[in-house]
Structure formats: structure tokens, C-alpha cells
């Protein structure tokens, strides 16, 4: 009963090619009106959306899913230049995946850094996104907040991530360097690139923001929801990691994606 029990039945890894020649990896899980799922920093689509039960929950609701690996992550191209990373550039990669699948419009879900990429996608191609659910963000860009140099040093030089204080990045960075197959140079470039661009804190499509009550990354959540015109859902006792797998997140997001009004 391991969480990997469905791996044998996973659809094959596909690749969309961007105009600049990068390859963006994704899996298309069967089902109608697939939801594009966008993971956060230093993880993968599979760890974020498959292990946590999201693909299963969408399937039960009759919905398909497109699980991507952002550039710099998982099986996608991983350039090492900070100039290759921004919310807009990563959003263009998502557009390449949507195009490759021949879809006119999709619902989109993003978490943490993936929320910013999803919002950039709305700004880039507002007619291609129907409804948007994002989570794990507030009004604070985390890399700049904790210090790009400190984050990069923890990634590249093994500097003690304790210098990052109580940042949720600290335990993450501590484990990343030992994880197999992780391109720390690409992640360091991602940190620098993303931090050098303003957060795309606006939305022109119906938007829901889901945050854990115990997640400091979501500081400013009320202001963020107001700026986005988003419905705000706060999950009690959940932190940045455990929000993602929470049943409450699914119970809020799935009806929202169907256009239901919450009571």
C-alpha cells in the first residue's frame, strides 16, 4: 500500500518543446477537462500532486490531470543561468504544454512557487485559463525575503541552512543536497531568477487561495486574496507541507473548479 502503488499505471512521461528549445516533462492522466498542476520550488510534479492524492481525487471527480515538471526540476530541461528563470518564462513553458496537448483552455492549480507561475500564466494568456486555484503563498517573495545569497549558499556550498532561521526553506534545503538527481545549480539559478522579478499578484479569472493556518510562507494572505479578488480558504493547523495533502484543500478546490459556490 505504498503511495507508489499506482506507478505501474502511470501514463508515460511526455515532453513539450518550448520556442527556445527546452524540453518540459509532463504526464497526462486520463479524464475529462484535465487540470494543469504546477508544483513549487525544489520538488517535482509527481511528489507534489501524485503522492498527495490530488490526481486520484481529480479522477474521482471525473477530471483528468496534466502533471508538469517546471524547468530546472524533475525530468525537464534545467538551464543554469538565472536569466532563464522568471515567473513569465516558466509560465511560457506551461503554455507550451497546453499547446502540445491541443487544449484551448484549462483549469490550473499551483502551489507555493507554482502559484506565482500559475498567476504569470493568467497574465500571459488570460483566455487560456478558466479557473485558478493557488496555495501556499501570501504577499512575500520567499527567496528575497530569506536572502538569495543565503539560499544559494545553502544549495551550492552546503552552508548551514540554520542561517535561514525559521524559514520553511531551511529543512527543505537541508534535504535537497542529499536527494538523488537534483540539479542544485539549476535550483540556485531558479532562486536568483525568480527573486529578481516582481510577484504577479493579480488575476483576471475566478481564483481561490488556499493556505495553512500554521504556514509562515503565507504571510499577508488576506492582502493577497484581496489583490487577487480570490476566495480565501484557511486550513486549521496545517503548515507549508501538510496543507498540500489535506483533505480540506481538496474539499475546497474540487467544487470551486466545477464552478460551485461554497456555502
Amino acid at each position: 500500500m505504498s503511495g507508489s502503488g499506482d506507478e505501474d499505471h502511470n501514463p508515460p512521461m511526455m515532453f513539450a518543446t518550448t520556442p527556445s528549445g527546452y524540453r518540459i516533462a509532463y504526464r497526462r492522466h486520463p479524464g475529462e477537462r484535465p487540470v494543469l498542476l504546477v508544483h513549487g520550488f525544489a520538488t517535482t510534479g509527481e511528489l507534489t500532486w501524485e503522492s498527495t492524492g490530488w490526481v486520484r481525487a481529480l479522477a474521482e471527480a471525473g477530471r483528468g490531470a496534466i502533471v508538469v515538471d517546471l524547468r530546472g526540476h524533475g525530468a525537464s530541461s534545467s538551464p543554469h543561468e538565472p536569466a532563464d528563470y522568471s515567473p513569465d518564462l516558466l509560465a511560457r513553458d506551461l503554455l507550451a504544454v497546453i499547446d502540445a496537448e491541443g487544449l484551448d483552455r484549462v483549469d490550473v492549480m499551483g502551489y507555493s512557487m507554482g502559484s506565482w507561475v500559475s498567476l504569470a500564466l493568467v497574465a500571459l494568456a488570460p483566455t487560456r485559463v478558466d479557473r485558478l486555484v493557488i496555495g501556499g503563498v501570501g504577499t512575500v517573495e520567499q527567496f528575497g525575503h530569506w536572502g538569495v545569497d543565503a539560499v544559494r549558499a545553502a544549495l551550492l556550498d552546503g552552508a548551514d541552512p540554520a542561517t535561514l532561521g525559521d524559514s520553511p526553506l531551511a529543512p527543505l534545503l537541508g534535504s535537497i543536497r542529499q536527494a538523488p538527481g537534483v540539479d542544485t545549480e539549476a535550483l540556485a539559478a531558479c532562486v536568483a531568477g525568480m527573486a529578481s522579478h516582481p510577484l504577479p499578484l493579480s488575476s483576471t479569472v475566478p481564483t481561490m487561495l488556499v493556505v495553512g493556518d500554521a504556514d509562515p510562507v503565507t504571510a499577508g494572505r488576506d492582502d493577497a486574496a484581496a489583490a487577487l479578488g480570490a476566495e480565501l480558504v484557511v486550513l486549521p493547523k496545517r503548515n507549508h507541507v501538510t496543507t498540500l495533502s489535506a483533505r480540506g484543500f481538496k474539499q475546497a478546490a474540487l467544487p470551486f473548479l466545477e464552478g460551485a459556490v461554497r456555502v
Binding site: 503511495g3 486520484r56 534535504s175
Partner: protein
């Protein structure tokens, strides 16, 4: 009728234990194989484990908030004798029937 107990599976990456965040079923529920069973947190991530078995939930061995080691008892199912007899064989993969367990939050 017979009982089958499942242990916490190996979650990979050398993880030795996990904490139960939330049970997604209740004692007495009939649960189909691959339906969401329990949400657990490790030092690295949070994951939702699907049910390894179709059957009725007899009892939990770990309460929410408690930590359990890999290989320790997690949950016991009550199953028909027919099903008990085939344990150990590779289950036939069937598309899960649609289950409507989702409810709006109570707040």
C-alpha cells in the same frame, strides 16, 4: 468473515516512521481498494496512502497525531472469507467506482 491487518509501508528514502495526520475513513466504513485511506507526514513530505484492500474498516492501530514505525500495524480490515483466501496474490486492477465521499467543510 476474516480480519487482515496492514502495516505502515516503506515510504522510501530511508524514512523509518510517519505521523498520522488524518484518517480518511471511519471504523465501520466499507472502503474500496485504492480509495484514499490515510494522510501521513514524514520528515520530508506529506502523502496520502490509498487503501491496499477492499473491505470494512475494523479498527485503527494508530490515532491521529501519533507516530508509527515502518512495519508496525496501521489498520485492520474485516473482509469476506473469499477475499481473505486470495491475500498474497496480485490483486486484479479494476477502475475504481466513483465514490462520493467529499463533503463541504463544516465551517
Amino acid at each position: 468473515m476474516a480480519e487482515i491487518t496492514f502495516d505502515l509501508p516503506d515510504l522510501g528514502e530511508g524514512l523509518q516512521e510517519a505521523t498520522v495526520l488524518e484518517w480518511l475513513v471511519e471504523a465501520g466504513d466499507f472502503v474500496e481498494r485504492n480509495a484514499p485511506l490515510v494522510e501521513v507526514e514524514t520528515t520530508k513530505s506529506a502523502v496520502e496512502l490509498p487503501s491496499p484492500q477492499s473491505g470494512t474498516i475494523a479498527r485503527f492501530h494508530v490515532q491521529e497525531g501519533e507516530t508509527v514505525e515502518v512495519g508496525s500495524a496501521l489498520i485492520t480490515f474485516t473482509v469476506s472469507d473469499d477475499q481473505a483466501g486470495i491475500v498474497g496474490t496480485v490483486p486484479v486492477e479494476e477502475p475504481p467506482a466513483r465514490r462520493v465521499r467529499l463533503q463541504l467543510p463544516e465551517d
